[in-house]
Assembly symmetry: C2
Homo-oligomer: 203 residues x 2
Amino acid sequence: MIITISREFGSGGRELGKLLSEELGIAFYDRKIIEEVAKLHDLDPRYVEKVSDADIRTAYPMTIGRSFVFAPLLVDQSVKVHSSRMQVIKKLASQNDCVVAGHGADAVLQDLSPMNLFVYADQQSKLQRCLQRAEKGETETEILRQMRQIDRNRALFWEFVSGGKWGRKENYHLCINTSGKNPKALIPGLSEYVKCWFAMQQK
Amino acid sequence: MIITISREFGSGGRELGKLLSEELGIAFYDRKIIEEVAKLHDLDPRYVEKVSDADIRTAYPMTIGRSFVFAPLLVDQSVKVHSSRMQVIKKLASQNDCVVAGHGADAVLQDLSPMNLFVYADQQSKLQRCLQRAEKGETETEILRQMRQIDRNRALFWEFVSGGKWGRKENYHLCINTSGKNPKALIPGLSEYVKCWFAMQQK
């Protein structure tokens, strides 16, 4: 039972994934992937996280064709991080049942037939959720810019890994709109749905 | 508790809606809407169904601007059918809890805060489902053409009623991919999810 969570920034998808893993009594991988990659290459987890969240095109500049990066060493490092992320996800997911949030896990784990969820919400709900956990002094405009940028980078990474288009419902088995909803309250229903889905898979 | 089902032709969405209504013990409206409209205007239900499934632009030719219809009486009749469909849906849904499949119910019932589901599947699964219930002699090519045409007309009607874009996940609260799945087996999970969703709505 492998469940992957792709999500828009601020939709509560990570929280939904974590709660779902607790309800199902299985592992949850998100931050753990970053830590494993950092350990593997003796890097600072904060650096690995930064590379993971960055625009994938800066790691693979040849895919753009119009830009040129003057720091081949840094590029090598980024490529190593991205490539290790995929290896770590595969290793973790093949060990036991789990929920994996982000990291293009749905595309990376395709061969293991995961159930792929996409979590999204309207702009207002996402902004509200981000404002609640924002650092002091962050303005609405800054948060909106951050939302756009993170989603863009997630989409670019996902499209790089899968060759498809990020966020198209056709790529997922269930698309969950959390607008105006508390993810926690959806968990009992969602976990039942997931169980039904996997029960059918085994037949 | 009003649940609307929009669905791609062949995705099993109608079946899913009917089973869901049975599981929840509430009414199911689909064919009933056609029958009520037919009764209202003393028309043959088959005619009402045909008009409902047809390209909405033939009913409201002024919206195209490039074509002209030489049968104003027939056009009047079509407009009457479409307009009555919306009135009948509103009347039925305001009377009791229900699942409504098709007829742009999510847009028509917007003021009653329904939960809107979209049911879809990959081409292969839809074709398989259609082949199982196809009339003798129907070829795969004919069925594929029918699938495209019905979905196109559904999209046109929905876009006419709502002003939005049919099938975009943002319009729905949950998007369900039935590829390779038997809708019946998803029902226990789906009905739990629906209950959670409405329980939160009431708070």
